[in-house]
Structure formats: structure tokens, C-alpha cells
Point group: C2
Chain length 456, copies 2
């Protein structure tokens, strides 16, 4: 018999996870290793340590250790905004008149506005511990850059953010949050780096791209003494840190004797989804339980549902290691009408492999439907969601509607990764009826696949 | 002996207050009654019910009933974002190296971004219960309008917001949040109302004022069938609803055996401060305990520290009842360089009377110092505060610094009313070193006082 479940389940601080969980350790068939882009051989710890902090490089390459202790300093930082609530969506259930029980793990209750902070503090911590002066990174919409600037400010670490020029100019508020946290925010392409100067010369007036910003950030990290590059998604280390989401969600469900039937998360690079599903996927891999896990991606950037499983460059600049992943090709850029994040061309190797093994299913949704679900949710549950998170909301509502037809009282859990306070331009387009959808054609994708690197 | 206090104290849902507390009931000398602006006689329930919902008009006039039951529907709504956490600022204490214990009641964890939602849902609920079609209001920066639109959307009530034209144009994101919640947002002065048309004709190209927006909202409420006007601060009914802040804060402190020494809140119209201090002031009034209560206001709009205690108009349009309050004169407008809210010319009658009786002290602070404290707090505690809330932060830090000198381990509690995510223009000015201070001259204030209505 279930105990009476409150609107918001907050774990006590003592119940907060003390270890991150590395789902790769329980995978019989592991994700394929990262490859050195020059030699096409698996990258070594030494090679990776030139770009990433050593401890993070170790985490990246370790696919056998199931648990990593969370250092006390990181746990103390977590206590400022964690444990995050697992919310029972009573209001949404009532509005939908569904027999389903809907839960969401809400990661937006911190100033970065998303789950990104979970990995930002970990990466900043290991950089500090290694005695580094600072870190460099890129940011598109600005969530990751904000999270990193918060973590660096806390640890008194220099933070250099290369922000895609069009976002830098169109999202000045995100930029100002980062500056308030002491970060140096540079519009990319800039004149600070070799690659930036080259791109500016070649394409005068360019508004930049994430790929270019990555290349600038990597160059800045490798050419300044005491700096390393950090990345907010895709990597196995990031999924490891983000496992705190799933571990807390599972502990909260266990506390009330609730068994999830379905776990839904939005998927861009895969860090939120990977973190949320980790402990549940681990149970499935160990044969202890079964869940329906659904990754939701934008129809305009459908790496799982329409991508190909192959080695590809992680960045458009082709300076980072290659990863085997579901990908649309590193040159793929979502249509200009695409709002919000989830615009990465590939999917984390770990999530890709779980998908390939059938443990994770995938669904793609169009953005006008996503914003419709977002607005509905905002009015009913009182939280204005990020466009990214709203992909999961859309499918959770769809599934709750199905339960209404079948009468099944399923327990649906989804990840609400963040808030949409800095996405009001997109909401305005939706409010004004000016939002449109775009689905890439088969021809477009085929042309992009043709550019994939030849690895075998 | 104190129990180990977590970073965040969350009350259980069952511990959430079931009644609001009306501090006027414990005041021997009551706040002076509202006056009808035409007759200069105390307003009657009948007169007030033409503008406000009847239940709210009753609450406004009742200065003897100590407790009002919180209806279940409102409590259920509260459960979406309450109980709000009382945070032990361990990180701030450590950074300051102070022996003081610092706590803050954080009201920013909801999409309206502030405490305003506590009264918005109450006012919307009584409007719905009375069978009304909708409500009208004004908004300046947009916090109150956002809160009201969220409450109305939840209850399926029409919401018409008159937004001061300069904010409407300069803060399009706040406007879009309101629109996302289904509110009709009109730039004020508009052509919808008699008073709007008159002001537009008289002052072509005006960017509007709060006083004008109030007049438009009141006219819209009284000329449409099934509408009433609602207001987010100043009124006794609003302080009543906001008492939930103080009641929760006190319950959380009591739970851990902590006795506050000092309670600090920012003060504009007085609703947040009044709500936070209510139960503590009640204890003082009943002779049960003693606290140092400090209201913090901007030096550029110093109604308590430099105002006069007199009857004045609540609105610049002079259509609302008169209130006895500490006021700068209803024609007073803070200097154009003033950022954020806390720009109201007067102070809630209840807070004014408590101040006059010496139970509340007041301090004024300049805005560059306020933003400096805001940035410091953001980096250390991970929450980017609203400019309004940062007035309380500034004084809390000052007091913690004093404790460092004296060695006193005081328990300092302050109200963190909201987040600054929609105030990045002001933060940008601060980041760019372009923020300045302004203190009105004695001559300015004297000229404003000379315009006060003659009431005796």
C-alpha cells in the first residue's frame, strides 16, 4: 500500500547520494571507445589529459568501476540546490483526468536554470584540485556557460566562455548572468584565437556556430598555461555526474514504495537523459527490473530516430576525439526555425549503445506541439518549462492520455530539466502564432551522412 | 542544544499554515482606517466592495480577527510551490567568517519569481468564488502581473493587466510570461479607458506611470460587468495573505529550536516585510518575545526613513481610498536611475503604524551597494537575487560583519523575496560600472509633502 505522497518529495540531506553511478560498468556490451582524430586509435589517458583534467579523463575512460565517491566539497555545493524535488503532478493528473500517476524530477531550481550545474561543479572541482588557473568552454543558448560560471565563481577559478555570436547578441541576459558570476564571455568567432581569426577572415560577418565556439575554447585551453577545456554534455564523465538525478529520483520513489513503469527524458547530447535513467537502466542490465525508457528528441534534429550509428566527430571543427554514436553527421545544423537547445548532431555514446541494445526507445516530436504542451504544463503546474524539457512533457502528457483510454494507472516519471525564463523569445513566437515546424528531408540527411569519417 | 540544521529546512506539507495571521488584531493602537477620497470618511464595506471582491473587502476592514482560515483550494495551490525553504546560509557565513547564523526565507522558487503569488492566488480565489468573470490590475516591473496571471490561469479567470508603457516596451519577456499564462497585457496609457485616452491626448508620447496604470485598471474593473480590481501590495488583505511567509519561517525556526535575534526585510509597499514579520511582531505586541526588526528601503525612495506619517492618496490618479501611512507624497517619483521595484511613494498602514510604535526600525541603502551585495550573494549562495530582495541582503551582510567585530553569534533571518532573472538590464548596468546612486534632496521632499491632501 502506497503511503500518502506529498506534492513534492524532498529527500533529507543525509539521503542525498554519496556516490555517482557509472552505468557502463553494468553493460555487457560497452560503448565503443573514443578515437584519436589523428591516429584513429582509441585515445589514451595521456592524450585526453592534455584537453581535460586528469581525474575527469580517468572517469571518461573507466567503463568498469560502477561507483565513484562524490567528494565532500561537491556534496556541500550540491546542498545549496539539492536534493532536487521529485514532484507528484497532482494538478496535471486532475486536469488530464488520467488514472496515471505522474512524477517529475525538477532540476530547474537553481540560478543556472537546469541540471547542467551537477556536472559543472564536478568539472570545476577537479580542475581546482589539479591546481589549474581556469577552464574554457563554449556555450550556445547559455545554460551550460551559466552553470560553469556559477561553479567557477564558487571555487574562485577563472572561467572563459566562448558564446556563439548570434546568442551573444540575441541573448544578452544570459550573458549578463555569466558576467555577474565573474565569467569572461567572448563572442565567437573572436579575434582571441587562431581559429577564430581564420574564420572571421574567411566568413566576414558570420554569426558563429557551436562547432566554431568549441574549436576556440579547445584552442584557448591548450594554448594557455594552467587551463583545461570542459564540456557540458555528451561525454561519459558528464553522464556519470548527472547520475545524481536518477539516483535521487529512484531513492524518492523507493521511499514511497512507488515502482516507475515509464521513464521519459528529453535528449540532446544525452546528459540529462543518461543521468536520469542510469540507475533504472542499471537494474535492467542486471536483470532486476524492467522499465519503459523513452528518449524524446526534436523532429528537426532526430539523431536517435533518424540518425546512423557510426563513428563521427564530436565537433564541427574536428579537433576533438571521434565517438561512436547515433549521429546526423557533424556538419548537420538544425533548421533556423528550431528554438531552444537539443540541437546537437549526435548522441552520447552510452545512450546510443543503450538505444542500440533496445533498453532505450526514442520518439521525436515537433516544436509547435512541444510549446503547446509547455504552455499547458505552465498553467497547470505553475512552472514555466525550458523548451528542451518540454519535449519530455509532451510525451508524458501523450502517455497519460493513453492511460485515460486504457484505464491503466501507470507510474510515469519524467525529467523536468529546467526553466524557460531565458527563452521568452521562443515563447513570444509561440504566443504570436509564428512558430513553425521543420523536418529534415531524407536527402538532407543522406548528404550529411555522406560526409561521415571513414573509420573501420 | 540546537539540532544539526540542514542547508535547507523544508516543512512537511502538513506543517504548512492552515490559517493566515492578522497582526492588526494584536495591536492595541490600530492602523488608521482607509478614507473615502470624496467624503474623507472611513470607507464602508459597501463602498469597498465596488472595487474589491466582497470577501477581500471584509478582510481589509477587519482589524480584530486574529486568524483567517486558508481555504483548501488555496492550500492546494500553495502546495505547488510551498512550503518554501528556510535556508541556512552556511556558505555565506563561511565566506564572511562571521559567528552569526544567517537564515533566509526564499520565496523565489516559483515562476512568478517572488512572494507575490501568495496573495495573487488568494485574491483570484475569492474573485472566482464570488462568481466574477475576471480581475484587472496594474504592473510596473511585472512581478505582480506575472503572479496574478498564474493564479488566474489556474482558476480559469480572465486577467487584464495594465503594464506601464516603458516596462511594456523594455521588459518584453515579463510581458510574454504573462501572455503565456493567458493574461491580456495592455500597454498603459491605452486607448481602452477614458482615463487612458485623456492622458494620451494630454501627454502624447508619454511612457506611462504606475499611478496612471492603477487608474486604468480601476476604471476597467468598475466599468465591466463581473470584474474587480486587485492590488499586490500595501493593503492589509495582502499583508494577511503574506503572513504565510512569516508563519512558515517561524515554524521552521521553532522546529530546530532557533530563536531569531534579528529579522530583516526589504520594504516597498510593505507586503513582503509585513508578511515576514507578522508572527514575530505579534509576539512582541503580546509581550511574549523581543526581536530587532529592520525594514530596508532604497535611499532613492525612503518613505519610512524620510517620509511623513500622514493621510495620503494610494495612487497618483487619486481615485483609490486614502490611507494613513509614511509617505513621500503621492506625486513622488524616484529618480530615473533607480533600478527594480521598491518605488512606491508610501508604506502599508500596518507597517507604518508598527514603525511609528517603534516595533520596526528602518534603514535606507544606496543601490550600487545593494547590487554589490547582490553579486556577492549570488556567487556565494548560488541564487541570483532580485534587486528588491538585495536590499535585505545588504543589511544582513552588514549585520553579520558587525557580529564578526563583536563576536556575537546572532541569529539573523532575512527575507529573500525573489530572483533577478528578469532584471538583467539592471545587472548589466552594474556589471558595466554604469550604475549610480541618487538621494532626493530635502527641498524635493518638502515640495512633495506640500501636495499632501489636507485631512483632519
Amino acid at each position: 500500500m502506497e503511503k500518502k505522497i506529498p506534492y513534492k518529495i524532498y529527500l533529507d540531506e543525509q539521503e542525498m547520494p554519496r556516490q555517482w553511478y557509472n552505468v557502463r560498468a553494468d553493460m555487457k556490451k560497452k560503448p565503443q571507445p573514443l578515437l584519436n582524430p589523428g591516429t584513429l586509435q582509441p585515445v589514451t589517458l595521456e592524450e585526453l589529459s592534455g584537453i581535460f583534467c586528469e581525474e575527469l579523463a580517468k572517469q571518461e575512460l573507466d567503463d568498469t568501476t560502477p561507483y565513484f565517491d562524490i567528494p565532500d566539497e561537491i556534496r556541500n555545493f550540491y546542498k545549496m540546490y539539492r536534493p532536487s524535488p521529485l514532484v507528484r503532478a497532482y494538478c496535471l493528473e486532475e486536469k488530464l483526468q488520467t488514472p496515471a500517476h505522474i512524477y517529475y524530477k525538477f532540476e530547474g531550481n537553481n540560478t543556472s536554470g537546469s541540471h547542467k550545474l551537477n556536472s559543472a561543479i564536478a568539472q570545476a572541482y577537479y580542475a581546482k584540485k589539479q591546481g589549474l588557473k581556469g577552464v574554457t568552454t563554449e556555450t550556445g543558448a547559455g545554460q551550460w556557460g551559466t552553470a560553469l560560471s556559477m561553479a567557477c565563481s564558487y571555487l574562485d577559478l577563472d572561467c572563459q566562455v566562448y558564446m556563439v555570436k548570434c546568442s551573444y547578441e540575441q541573448k544578452p541576459f544570459r550573458r549578463e548572468v555569466m558576467r555577474t558570476y565573474g565569467a569572461q564571455v567572448t563572442s565567437s568567432p573572436s579575434m582571441n584565437t587562431e581559429v577564430g581569426r581564420r574564420i572571421n577572415a574567411e566568413f566576414p560577418g558570420t554569426t558563429g556556430s557551436l562547432g566554431c565556439a568549441i574549436s576556440e575554447a579547445v584552442e584557448a585551453a591548450t594554448t594557455q598555461q594552467g587551463y583545461r577545456y570542459v564540456l557540458g554534455s555528451v561525454l561519459a564523465q558528464v553522464l556519470l555526474h548527472q547520475s545524481v538525478i536518477g539516483l535521487e529520483a529512484k531513492a524518492a520513489l523507493d521511499k514511497y514504495g512507488v515502482k516507475a513503469d515509464m521513464i521519459i527524458g528529453c535528449a540532446g547530447g544525452g546528459s540529462n537523459l543518461g543521468g536520469l535513467i542510469s540507475p533504472f537502466a542499471g537494474q535492467m542490465l542486471r536483470g532486476e527490473a524492467d522499465y519503459e525508457i523513452i528518449a524524446v528528441e526534436p523532429a528537426s534534429c532526430p539523431s536517435l530516430t533518424r540518425g546512423t550509428y557510426a563513428y563521427d566527430f564530436c565537433d564541427t571543427g574536428k579537433v576533438c576525439p571521434l565517438a561512436k554514436m547515433y549521429t546526423l553527421g557533424s556538419g548537420f545544423i538544425p533548421s533556423a526555425n528550431h528554438a531552444g537547445g537539443l540541437r546537437y548532431h549526435g548522441m552520447s555514446s552510452t545512450v546510443s549503445e543503450l538505444y542500440d541494445q533496445g533498453l532505450v526507445k526514442a520518439r521525436s516530436v515537433e516544436q509547435t506541439e512541444v510549446f503547446k504542451a509547455a504552455q499547458y504544463f505552465a498553467c497547470v503546474e505553475g512552472i514555466l518549462p525550458a523548451p528542451e524539457s518540454s519535449h519530455a512533457i509532451k510525451v508524458a502528457i501523450d502517455e497519460a492520455e493513453k492511460c485515460k483510454e486504457t484505464g491503466a494507472a501507470k507510474n510515469i516519471v519524467f525529467g523536468l530539466t529546467g526553466t524557460g525564463y531565458f527563452d521568452m523569445v521562443a515563447y513570444q513566437r509561440y504566443n504570436d502564432g509564428e512558430m513553425s515546424d521543420y523536418i529534415p528531408t531524407d536527402e538532407e540527411l543522406a548528404a550529411s551522412f555522406a560526409q561521415l569519417p571513414k573509420v573501420e
